[in-house]
Amino acid sequence: MEESPLHQFELQNWIPISLGGFDISINKAVVFMWIVVLVAAVLMVMAGSARKLVPGKLQSLAEMMVDFIRSMILDTMGKEGMRFFPLVATLFVFILFSNLIGLIPGSYTVTSQIIVTAVFSFVVYGLSLVMGFMLHGAKFLGILVPPGTPGWLVPLMIPIEIISQVARPVSLAVRLFANMTAGHVMLAVLFSLTIGGGLLVGWLPFAFTVAIYGLEFGIAFIQAYIFSILTCVYLGDAFHLHGHDEHAH
């Protein structure tokens, strides 16, 4: 394989479209966004319309997921956080399906695009800021001074906390993007080694490919979970000022 392991992330404009001066051309990532939406919507709507008291497999899975997200929200935000349930759950579903569908060979991992994860993270962080200022007004700036800070430390704490706040959306976006990218790069490298090594040595990187693939499958879930729980934590911080600061990173 002479191809770069990063080749898989390259995009080409398949159908060039322009809207009001902006390029909104259809490329592989866009198509896979649609596939993610389609698959997720079909499965979730099917699960949601089953409504059986003793659930089948699909309904069971969907219920497990919904219950998981619900308890996550209740743990971090409490009962009033349930109004964010649709947002958090859709984020989880979208990211999870993107990660999983991206694992299918030949497909495209939507969440390996930094701009995709950045949009999610800035929307989430922006929403938490808006919520915070709406609920607490100017007092929300108190999030920059953790409770129990001695007065003489305040001038030092405020810049540190500003950095920590700015790091939130950045780390949220980079974490998901980097995990997905790294996983797929690793798979590509190992697989090119397999091809390049031939039967004699190739079995070793191939065994690693299988193992890493299994690991990537777990990471697909874990990253979706991390992204949504951090969403809950950030929104929860906006709700309860100085409530769960320790979860921030």
Binding site: N13, V30, A50, R70, I114, I115, V119
Partner: protein, 168 residues
């Protein structure tokens, strides 16, 4: 890295927002309410079932206690009835015995009195007959030599002597 090629950003942002919005709408409208309601329903059902089971258990327990109390009460009652019956039987027995004894006593007394009476009567009869006999005899002997009164007086004296000798 290909991901930092910024000329794809606008289309990715645009389609991401659209896709995510559509997914959010579909899930919010058609998937989450169903799943959440089923979850809540099941939770409620489980809670209700547990509550009901707890209620039934408490019910059964109280019923058991009830029955046990009733059983022991019934046992006590039976015991009481038995004791009362025994006592009554004893009393009846005693009464019967007493009455029988009294009856026997009375019958004996009656018989004794009757016998005594008969004896007296017989004695009286004997006396009368003896007197008459004696009178007859005396009359035969004396043959109207004496007045009726004298005769009777003699006869009485004789009888007196006779009865005295008899009593002795």
């Amino acid at each position: 890295m290909p991901q930092f090629e910024s000329h794809f950003f606008s289309s990715l942002i645009f389609w991401e927002v659209i896709s995510f919005g559509i997914l959010l709408f579909i899930l919010y409208k058609y998937a989450f309410p169903g799943i959440l309601s089923v979850l809540e329903e099941r939770e409620k059902k489980i809670k209700d079932s547990l509550d009901q089971a707890e209620r039934h258990r408490a019910d059964a327990e109280s019923r058991l206690r009830d029955y046990e109390a009733k059983l022991s009460a019934a046992g006590k009652e039976a015991e009481g009835i038995l004791a009362a019956a025994k006592e009554r039987a004893q009393r009846l027995l005693d009464e019967n015995e007493q009455r029988l004894t009294a009856d026997a006593e009375r019958i004996k007394g009656d018989a004794t009195r009757e016998i005594e009476q008969e004896r007296r009567k017989a004695l009286q009869d004997i006396r009368t007959q003896t007197t008459e006999l004696a009178l007859m005899v005396a009359e035969k002997v004396v043959q109207r030599s004496l007045t009726e009164a004298d005769q009777r007086k003699f006869a009485d004296e004789a009888l007196e002597a006779l009865s005295r000798s008899q009593q002795r």
